[in-house]
Amino acid sequence: MFGPHAAYIIPSYIVTVLVIGGLVIWSVMTHRARLAELAKLEKQGVQRRARNSENG
């Protein structure tokens, strides 16, 4: 399908899919893990005292 250069074209697309897919999955998994951790801490009764404290 890609002629004599298939050995270069196909790996290029595979690497791109793996890296971009990896980035998306990592971001989604991190989001879920952070939400679960926040819910766990709030369940333990830990409350944020100051709005600004999240910046540091």
Binding site: R34, R51, N52, N55
Partner: protein
């Protein structure tokens, strides 16, 4: 303040992480859907583009290599602007923005290097040459990795934010070097074909798929950046809560 309560705000109000979360939450799935649609259209156009008379089918690599290279530089430019925001205005989200962009920029730079090597081998002969364009992009990748190591090495968040912003700004000198390397030095890499003042030196059959793919990559970056900024804000909240829990445990 509720994360869902949105009132008319000045630009400065967006510095509030809670407000950012309220805006980013509904925006991320919309951006994600548009990105997916653009990738579908861009890939369809790419695989239906004709063979290049010189490069044959390897022109297909261009549609993923060139946007990755553009985004590697764009991402660093976003970080440099955020670094100014962090140093000059102490914008609460500026440091969050730099940290969130770091892994995305490193990934796009890695993609540009790997797909460039896979494109260069059949076109030039070698997998790698130490010319100005390739070397300066490799330096960019090393800078990304160095910045990622830097933030892990400094425990204090204020010192880490300041150090990250300063080193990011110092590293931004590499961006114009990458951009103009093909004009300033004799390189094996071809000069700019699209981003130049004159008419693009590329046939429309290749230009349009490339532009759609570039737009898809850009929206992908924006989506991932918002997602990572949200994750970074949550990381800071978790850190604050853990510190409070530790203080409460000490006081009990």
């Amino acid at each position: 303040m509720s994360e869902t309560a949105i009132r008319p705000a000045s630009l400065w109000d967006f510095a509030n992480p809670t407000r950012f979360l309220a805006i980013a939450g509904p925006l991320i799935p919309i951006l994600g859907a548009i990105t997916a649609a653009l990738f579908a259209a861009g890939l369809w156009m790419s695989f239906n583009a004709p063979e290049d008379y010189q490069q044959g089918h390897t022109v297909l690599i261009m549609f993923i290599h060139v946007p990755a290279a553009w985004l590697a530089m764009f991402c660093y430019s976003v970080m440099a602007v955020s670094a100014i925001g962090s140093l000059v205005w102490r914008h609460p989200l500026a440091d969050v923005s730099i940290r969130a962009a770091l892994p995305i920029g490193a990934a796009f730079t890695l993609l540009a290097l790997v797909t460039g090597s896979l494109w260069g081998k059949p076109m030039w002969g070698p997998w790698w040459v130490w010319d100005a364009r390739l070397t300066s992009v490799l330096v960019l990748f090393i800078v990304y990795l160095g910045l990622m190591a830097l933030i892990r090495a400094i425990e204090d968040p204020v010192i880490a934010a300041r150090s990250l912003a300063i080193v990011t700004l110092v590293g931004s000198i590499n961006i114009p070097i990458i951009k103009f390397s093909v004009d300033w030095w004799n390189t094996l890499h071809q000069p700019a074909s699209v981003s130049r003042f004159e008419r693009p030196a590329m046939d429309a059959a290749f230009l349009y798929p490339l532009l759609v793919m570039a737009l898809a990559y850009t929206l992908l970056f924006l989506t991932l950046h918002l997602m990572n900024m949200r994750n970074e804000i949550y990381r800071r909240r978790i850190r604050t809560l853990r510190m409070q829990a530790a203080r409460q445990a000490e006081g009990a």
